[in-house]
Structures are given as C-alpha cells and as structure tokens.
Assembly symmetry: C2
Homo-oligomer: 256 residues x 2
C-alpha cells in the first residue's frame, strides 16, 4: 500500500478500491535547488511519498488531486500520471506488517490485514507546485516536509525508484513540459530557471546559450525590475507570458 492519511484510512479500507494506490512525486523549487515533498507517520520510521487510495466511485486523476490538496492545500496544480508500478515484489509484507502494527492495528484483524497486506499496485503521479504557495498539512499523525532532491533518505517500499522514474520521465519530455512556469513564482531570474533544467538533466548548461534559447521561445518577457541581494551583480527579473504560454500548450509547441 502507499500512504493512508492517518489511522482512519486503514479502518475504512472497504471504501477504497482494493490492491491499488497512488503516489505523488511533488516537486518544488527553493533556494536554488529542487525539492520533493515527503511525509512520515509519527509512529513509523521511514519517509514516504504522499499517496492515497482511490474511492470506489472516483476517477484516478481526482484521487491524485485530492491527495495533493490534503498535503499542500493546493488545487489546480500541474499533475500528471506517469507510470503504474506493478511488480509483485515492489512492497514487502514484513515492511507492511511493521507499518500496520505501528499504526495500532493487530495482525489478527483480518478485514484490515487481508486488505492491507496483499500485493499492491501503485499509480505514479508527478506534480509541480510553487514552493511558496504550498501550506504543508502536518498533523499529530503525520509529518509533511520538503526534502532536497539530492538528499532523499531511503524510503518506504520502492518509493526511491518511483522518484527516479518520475525524473527520467520528465527529462525525456522536458521540451514539452512547462516545468519552469509551474515551479517558479511570478517573477524569477533566468538563472533560477536554468538551475531547474540543469537539475533535471543532471548536467551544466551554458548560461549564455540557455538564455538565448529561452528568450527565442518567446514565452518569457523581461521586467523592468531587477533581483538584488543574492550574489554579485543584480540580475533582471522575468515573467511568463500567460497568454503565449496557453497557446504553446494548446498548439503543442515546445515550451523549451
């Protein structure tokens, strides 16, 4: 399984589709690096991807959006299904037994253990959110925190693999994914945008060539303001042209 939202979830197992869950790789950008949102049950040792189950009369995309709202408070977020993880060994029964017991259930509670300890499929989604707008919904049962993408601990089940797969998926489609538009605040510098691309691609990009390419795409426009304070020379701020962005998405024109 992958990620109930507290003890209620397991107890209400019969409301959900059996044997299937979803996990979200939620990306944010802050202080020059990409972040991923993770959560952890206070009773359990490992961090997990924010996930959830699917109600019996609920579309999968809706379930994913619900999962996102429940962790970040954000709706209408860029959210895409990218893979179904369906190997038998992707979850471990002993790991799930441990989790179940720590959540306060006895292994002899058949209606729960039969539901929870079976083989689970998980639908992978990735999302881009504006870091500053997300309000992390931690509570007594669950911690929710951003982790630097370069500093992810060993996670529950195959969740490390799910993150890897999300990134390789994004990388291969980077030309048509509006990653910067979704991750950055309204005003941003081209260096910030470039770092996002460099992180996903895993390589340095030439600053001057990157700038030329971005500007020639015509989706960003230079503002009069400048961004000071950080490093050395003050740099120009840019903003996305929302209309041209919508046209680009609609017409399938490469975003980058």
């Amino acid at each position: 399984m992958d990620e109930p939202t507290g003890k209620v979830t397991l107890a209400n197992a019969e409301e959900y589709c059996p044997g299937i869950s979803l996990d979200c790789v939620i990306f944010g950008f802050h202080e020059g690096s990409l972040k991923v949102l993770l959560n952890k049950f206070t009773t359990y040792s490992k961090w997990m991807l924010p996930g959830g189950f699917i109600y019996k009369e609920e579309d999968v995309d809706d379930a994913a959006a619900r999962t996102l709202v429940s962790r970040t408070g954000l709706a209408n977020v860029y959210l895409r299904q990218f893979y179904l993880f369906g190997d038998v060994k992707r979850t471990s029964i002993t790991e799930n037994e441990d989790l179940m017991v720590r959540q306060g259930f006895g292994l002899e509670e058949k209606h729960i253990s039969e539901w929870f300890l079976q083989r689970f499929f998980s639908i992978g989604y990735y999302a881009f959110v504006e870091y500053g707008k997300a309000t992390l919904q931690s509570n007594i049962d669950e911690n929710v925190t951003w982790f630097d993408l370069n500093d992810i601990p060993p996670l529950y089940a195959d969740h490390n693999c799910i993150i890897e797969k999300a990134i390789s998926n994004i990388r291969s489609q980077l030309n048509s994914i509006p990653i910067g538009y979704e991750l950055l605040p309204e005003k941003f510098t081209l260096t910030q945008l470039r770092i996002i691309y460099e992180t996903i691609l895993g390589e340095k990009l030439d600053r001057r060539n990157f700038q030329r390419k971005i500007l020639s795409a015509g989706l960003v426009c230079k503002l009069d303001e400048v961004y000071k304070k950080w490093g050395q020379k003050s740099s120009a701020l840019y903003s996305f042209d929302k209309q041209k962005y919508k046209d680009a998405i609609k017409n399938g024109i490469p975003v980058f």
Copy 2:
C-alpha cells in the same frame, strides 16, 4: 474488464487481481499500412483490444507478455506500458452485463458478477511485432484479426480511446522509439520505413529529406539487393545494423 481468453477466465476469477486488467495495442505493418490486432468473442458483437488479467503473484509486465504470446505466439517482443486508464465511466455496467450473459453466465452468479461488473482499471501497453512472424491464435471462442489503423470499428468500452492514446504517446517519443526496427522484416525499403513514420505522425514527409535523415543516423545500411515488383522503379533494400542499434538504445541516442 478487458478481455479474458475464453470462458475459463471468468470462471477462474479468484485467481486474478480484482478490478484491474491490461490491454495491448499491438501494431504490425503490412502492404503499406499500419495494422492493429483486435479480437472478438464469437458470442459477442464488439471487437476488443487483446487484453488479460493479472495473476495474484505475477508482475504486470509478465502478464502483458503472456497476453501477447497468447494472441500472436510471439515472445520477446517490444512491449511498453504507456498509461493506466482509471476513469469510473470507462466501462459500462450494461455493456459488461451483456458480455457476461453472452459468455454463458447468469447475472445471478454472484461470485462472477461481483467480480466482473465492478469498476475496472486497465493498464495500457503497446507492442510492435513483425507482421509476418505473428501467428494469430484464433479458436472457437475467439477471433483474432489485423485491422487497418484507418479502419478501426467502434470497439468495446474505451478501447478506441486507448488506441488513440497509444498513438499520441508513440508520436511524442518517436525520436527514441525503434519503431521501424521492430515492425519491419529484416530487409526493407526506405519507403516502407517512411510510411510508418508518416502514419504515426499523421503527415507526409519529404522523401528525400527523410532518406538523408535516416541514413545520417547510421542505424541502417544499404544492401546489394533491390526490391522489385511493386511499383515502378526498383528500389534499394536496407537492413538495420543490430550492433549499432543496441548501442543506440543503450546510450539513449535518438533512433531517428
């Protein structure tokens, strides 16, 4: 649900993961056009994508490969998962009731109807097979036939949408998918290869530019033989360089 392999399947429902199935969009190339493999129960009116269920201790990829073997006799085929179809309304209960009755089951048979008439997820796979090597496994209960991609009838459930989604998916990744290598026989003409790309892209390509581009990729090599008989002038035959092809896949170099 999507496609049992005869009456046995429904009767043995408890062997499979509930609520989830898989469907394969199997492409072939013959006589200048792309084909898709469809099958139909002799007792039922609509054609379907070849699909199947997943055994409780079986990886999803293995289940997809098993489905492919059962319809074409082919193993080790290029086969990729591309999407999970998870909308509540993707199947219709009345349509499935009809199918179930025509398969010889009564709606009052609870263990079957509860399993079969519930909401179903379906995992989409696409495959490329060499048309001439596939041996279609029709039998008394089921017909298996190639359909021209431009001549697909209205199918069971959302299977027309699944085909559309497969094509749009392939189109967006055409640069890194070895579609020609998998679909064509060992010796082929560049015109055949070009038709495949034109069909997927839905547009005409300039013959001379296409040829230049393919040859510059270095994955095909010209043979001494020529292909006669078809139209007018005899054309040169080409063949894929298997070693360079493997390197290209391994190193992630664009295939086209």
